[in-house]
């Protein structure tokens, strides 16, 4: 019973890290979606040279661990004179890493739209960029929402990695609590519960979003 009581009593202390987790998640996701969309469009438009650059960037971001990227931004960039605040480093690291994955989601979902949609738009007098914006991308969103939702949920959990670059989020707080109270089990159990408290409702939200984008479609 003591264990349960101690764990529960720690939750309010750790809960102060929730806003930070949400901040990191929201800003990183926005960054990931914006950069991801740009990267995917460069690849789809086959912009010469830039196209290859994007492939290299995406493979680099996907091929190295997120933790290494975060550490790199926070500890290595200062060596070359770039000092970035821990939270901003976290957002940059998470956002750019996820952008690589998100760009592949967008790329495949845009490619999955039937070519006839673009041809019909062109034949009516749309320019290719305008057809993309008004016809192709809106349709591709329907395909990209489920994977994007999954990335949003794993983003919540990956914010824990920023504890190693001195961002005071839930896990960092739990570290502090564990080392000051020596109640290691209780501290980390409380942290785990808090992550669940955020990610479970988010899964629900993702389901709602999927339903909303699909409601106009039969099948």
């Amino acid at each position: 019973m003591d264990f349960l009581r101690n764990t529960l009593s720690m939750i309010p202390l750790l809960a102060s890290g929730i806003p930070m987790v949400l901040n990191l998640t929201v800003y990183s996701l926005i960054l990931a979606v914006v950069v991801g969309l740009i990267l995917s469009l460069v690849r789809i438009a086959h912009v010469p040279f830039l196209n290859q650059v994007v492939v290299v960037i995406v493979e680099f971001l996907r091929g190295t661990p997120l933790l290494v990227q975060l550490v790199y931004i926070y500890y290595v960039f200062p060596v070359i004179g770039i000092h970035i605040d821990p939270v901003v480093s976290g957002i940059l690291g998470l956002g750019l890493n996820y952008a690589a994955y998100v760009s592949e989601v967008f790329r495949s979902s845009i490619n999955s739209i039937d070519r006839g949609q673009m041809e019909a738009a062109l034949s009516l007098g749309y320019t290719p960029p305008r057809a993309m914006a008004k016809i192709i991308i809106p349709q591709s969103l329907r395909v990209s929402v489920p994977p994007l939702g999954n990335y949003a949920i794993s983003m919540v959990k990956d914010t824990a990695l920023t504890s190693v670059i001195a961002v005071t989020e839930i896990l960092k707080q739990a570290n502090v609590l564990a080392s000051t109270t020596f109640q290691v089990t209780e501290a980390y159990t409380a942290a785990a519960i808090l992550y669940l408290v955020i990610s479970l409702p988010l899964s629900g939200l993702v389901k709602v979003a999927e339903w909303r984008v699909n409601r106009n479609v039969a099948k």
Binding site: D114, G116, Q117, E119, A120, A121, L122, S123, L124, G125, Y126, T127, P128, R130, K134, I135, P138, Q139, R142, N216, V217, A218, K219
Partner: protein, 282 residues
Amino acid sequence: MADTPDKADKAGRPFIIECRDVHKSFMIRLEHPTFGQRLHRERRAKEVLKGIDVAVREGEVFVLLGSSGSGKSTLLRCINHLEIPDSGEIVVNGREMGMQSINGVNMPARTSELASQRSEIAMVFQHFNLFANKNVIGNVMMPLRDIRGLGRDEAREAAVASLGRVGIAEELFNMYPDRLSGGQQQRVAIARALAMKPHAILFDEPTSALDPELVGEVLQVIRRIADEGTTMMIVTHEMAFARGIADQIIVMDDGRIVEQGPARSVFDNPQSDKMKALLKEI
């Protein structure tokens, strides 16, 4: 099938679509194992259009016949520059497609200019290609607003009128394309094309993807708008329909026009082996 009285009068009218010596090749990849099991890769150009000349006057209906692969669809797609021809010129209502005069110099058209040229000729596709993210009325209204710059009310009015012409009932206006039958989808696509008030409409096998019982309703709509004086070019395999609707028949074979003439003479007195073969098939 009686000729409409105005058919003879079309002779003096201005040209809407002119193609002069149009050539088009596609690169195709060939892969075949050679002696020693090494895969031999080859890129070879296949010429699909080998010098096409066509001139369509205002209000005329041209029907293109020929086996698949003869270049009929490619010709239509070249006319509105969905495919860019390798050489030759295509003139629509006096404007050369894909070209633009900049400071008096004839240059390849900018994307916006090309788009505006394309909006002057509508196209109806084999697979309808209605916008899946828009309902029926939205499919017709959106290009009117985006391309023709109409306001919401004007666009709606024009869309309703156009859907009326193809016999789409009001209950269907708010449905999404995948809820409609193929025939209904194709009629909406025709309404979308008509609403743009194009100089001409290109039909690329408009009934080939339809169930047999739905072909009739679409052909009937096409016939009606032809009677209303719409200039059109139609690729089709429906021979009876072709004979009934066409002012001119063009028979294509292997990238060339092998026969051209008024529908009656081409059907009753075919000159080319290709047309004779096509007639034998029915």
